[in-house]
Amino acid sequence: MNFKRREFIKISGITAAGSLIIPPFFNSCKGIALSDNAESYLNHFEVTRDILQKVISAAMEKGADYADLYFEHTLENYSSLEDSKVNSAYSNIGSGVGIRVVKGEQTGYAYSEIISADAMLKAARTAANIADSAAKFSPVNINEYIPPNYYTIKTSWEGTSVKDKIPFIQRLNDNIFAGDKRVTKVNAVLGDSTSYILFYNSEGLLTWDYRPMVLLYGLCIMEENGRIENFFVGRSQRMGSEFLTNELIDELSKEVVTKTSLLFTATKPKAGEMEVVMGAGESGILLHEAIGHAFEADFNRKNTSIFADKMGKKVAENFVKIVDDGTLPGKRGAMNIDDEGNPTEKTIIVNNGTLSSYLHDRISAKYYKVNPTGNGRRQDFRNIPIPRMRCTYMENGPHKREEIIASVKNGVYVDSFSNGEVNIGQGDFTFFVKFGYLIENGKLTKPIKDFNIIGNGPQALADIIMVGDDLLINDGIWTCGKDGQGAPNSMGLPTVKIRKLTVGGLNA
C-alpha cells in the first residue's frame, strides 16, 4: 500500500531479495544486447510501428491529451553465499507493457503482461477511460530518438555465467574471514539485472534503453566475549560484469572488517541537539531526505511540500549548490532516458543558496510550464511514472575537512548510514547512523553507532554553515521508496557541517 511516507533504504544482508543465475534465461526474444537501433527493440518485443500506432490511437480515442507505451523486459539474477559457500541462487523474469493516458493532471493506467495486439488494445481502452469525450486521434509521424549512453558495458550480464560470478563472491567471503579472527559469519550476495526498454508516445517519440545494473554486498558478523557486532558494505553500478575485479573485492572486504571491528569500541552518543559534521560520500542521504523529496514537483504541484512556495527564494548559504544528475557514467542513479522517454540531465536544484528548479515529470513540467528535467521514473511497467531523484549531490564548497572538524567543540561526525525517511509536509527528516565518531574540542574521539538523527528540511538547509572541497559520490546500494515504488539512486556530499540536528542518544 502506498500509505507510507518517503523512505530510503540501503539493501541489507537480511533482506536479500529473490532471483537468478545463468542467462540468457530468455530465449523467446532474440538477445540483442547493446544494439542502438529501433528495429532490434521492436523485434525484441515482437511489435511493429503499425501496432504501436494502433495502440496509441486506442489510448487516445476518448479525447486524452497524451498517451505513452512503456515496454519492459527485465532479467534479474542473484547468487547468494552462506556458510562460506555460494549455495543458493534466485532469478526473476518480468516483461510487459504499461499504457498511460493523461488528460490534464489526470492519469489512466493499465498494463499487460502479454505483449499481443489484442491484449495491448484492451489495456489501452481501459486506460483511455480517464478521458470521457469521443475524439478521433490521427497518428503522428514517428520520430526516433537515439539516447546518449551513460553506461558503457564491456561484458553484458546476459553473457556472464554464474560460474564466472562465484569466484568473486567466494573471495569476498574468504577475505573477510582471513581479515579478523573474530569473524563468525559472512553473508554475501551478487545481484545483476538487465532491462530492455522501448518507449513510444502520442507525440510520435520512439526511443529505447538497455539498462544494466549490478549490486554486491557483504555482511560481516564478529563475536568477542559474547558480544556480537555486524556491519554491511555494498556497491552498485550500472555496469557489465567487468564490475567484478579482485581489487573491488579486496577493498570491500577490508572496509567491512575494519568497520565491524571498530564497533566493539563504539558507544551511543548523548541525546539532544548538537552540531553534526557529515563526512563526504554516503552523507548525501542528507540531501535525499532533507531536501530532495520536497523538491520533487508532484508534492509542490499538489501544494503539500514544505518548499511549495519557495521557488526563487534564498534557502541556504551562498556556497551551497545542490544538483540532481542522471548523466554520471555508470552510477546507480544514471539513466540514458527517463521512464517517460525524456533525456536525463544535470538539474541544478539549489544554486548560490537559491532554490532554482524542482524535479519534474511530464505532468508537473506542463503544469509549471517548464521543460521536463528527466526525473519521470517508475519501478517497472506495472507502475505510473512519478518525479524521482537520480544521483543527488552537493558541489564542493570553500572549506577544508580538517577545518570543519576542528571548528566543532561538542558534536558528532557521521559517515555510514542504513536508511532515512522524510515527511514532506512538515519537513521532518531522519537518517539512521550505523557508524560515526564523537567530536570533542575539534577532534574525532570515540566511535559511536546505531542512532537516529532527526531534523527539519528547510532549517537544516539554512543551517549548513560549512561545505568542504572533497565531494565524493557514493556507490552504495541505495533504493528509494515512494508511493509504493522502488527506484535505484546514487548520492554524494562533500564534508558538511550543520549547526544543529537532534541526535537520538541516551539521557544520563
Binding site: 500500500m1 523474469i93 489526470q106 532515512g420 519537513g427 537516529n452
Partner: protein, 438 residues
Amino acid sequence: MNTKEKYDLADLVIEHALKSGAQQVSVNIYENRSNNIEIRDQKIDSLKESNQGGLSINLYVDKKYSAHSTNRMKKEELFRFVDEAISSTRFLAEDEFRMLPDPEMYYKGGGTDLNTFDPKLDAIDAKTKINLAIQALDEAFKKDERIISVSSYYSDSITNSVMVASNGFRGDSGNTNVSLYVTVSLKSLTGRPNDYWYENALFFDKLKKTDIGKKALERTIKKAEPKKIKSGKYTVIVENRVASNLAYPLYGALQGSSIYQKQSFLIGKENKPVASPLLTVYDDPLMPGGPGSRLFDSEGLAAVRRPVFEQGILKNFYIDDYYGRKLGMRPTTGNSSNIVFNLGTRGLEEMIVSVKEGVVITGFIGGNCNGSTGDFSYGIEGYFIKDGKIVHPVNEMNISGNMTEFWFSLKELGNDFLENQATRIPTLMFENVDLSGI
C-alpha cells in the same frame, strides 16, 4: 486461469522439471487483479487497473538449490526456463539441508474456510469505487480554511494461488482486500502538517466507509504547530495505529534466518523472560476472517496456533523448514500470520489521563534497530502530555533504547486494537523511555 488450470500447469511444470534432472520441485502459480483510484480535491487524479500473474519454482538438483520466478506463462517458454534453471543450479555448491519439508508436516486438506475471499468483490463496478473515494474525501474537503490538499484512495486486490510440491503437497488459497484512505494537508505557521486515516477489510460489504476523511482532518488539525520538548526519560504511550513499529524488531529477531546469522538479540532466550509479564502474544493463522489467516504457510506447512510470548516468556521462534534443519530446531513456520496481543482494560484517552508527564507517539519516521544487539532509535511525532492532558503536538524527536530491556518497561496494554489488521496490537504504555529533543 481457474484453479484447476493452475493445478494442471503446476503439475506439468513439475513433471518436466523432474524429467529434466531435478529430484524435488515445488511450484506456486498466482494471479492478482487490483484497482487503485486516487482522487485529489474532488477530481480523479489517477485510475489504475492491474492484472498480473506469475509462476515461481523451487528446484532441488543433486543437493543444490535455486529458486526462480517469471511472468511469461506460455508452456514452451516455461519448460525452457526450467531447463536452463536446472543446468545453472548445477554450478552451485551443495547444501545438505536443502530439501522439501517432511510431508508429515504438510497441510493435508479438509480445513475449514477461513473466510478470506470475497467472491462479490470482482463484480463491483468502477463507478461505485470512485464514488466511495469521493465520499471519503468530501468529509474533509473544504471543511477547514487551512486545508491545502485532500487526497483519497480506494484500492482493492483479488489474489488466487495454487501451490504444488513434488513430494505430495497440494493447496490453493484466495485472498481479497479492499481499503479506503484519506490524507489531508494543512497550511500552518511552521509547515504543512499532514495526517491520514484509513479503513480496510477483506470483504467489500464489511468495509467501514464513513468517518475516514473526517478522522484524517481531525488528526491533521491536532498536529499543527508542533514543537519538540527537552531530552529526557518519559512515560510513553504508543498509539495502536503505529505500535507494531516497535514490535517488528522482535519479529525480525524471532526468525530462524536471523538466529542462524547471529542477527538476533533473542538467541538462546527460548523459555526465558524477554518482556514484561504483561505481554502475551499468539500467532493465530486459523482465526476466521483474519487478514493473515491461512491453512498453510509458504512452504505448505500446516497452520498451527502458537504462543509467541506468554507472560513475557519467549515460547516460540519463527523457524522455517530449511533453518529448522540447519539449527537443529523443530520447524514452526517462517511466516507470521495474525499476530494477536492480549488486551488490557483501558483505551488511549484513559491512559493519557493517568500520565503525569509523557508523550503519546502517533507516528514514526525513519530509524532502525540493530538485529544483533537490539539497539534501536526511531524518529517520532505525537503529543506532549502534562498532568493527564495533551498540551501540544511534538515532532522532530527520537526514541532510543535496546530491545532486550525496552519490553520490560511495558507498563500497560490497551483494550483498543484496530480491526482488520494482521497485527492485532493495542495502544501500549512504556515507562522510563529515552527521548531526544532539545
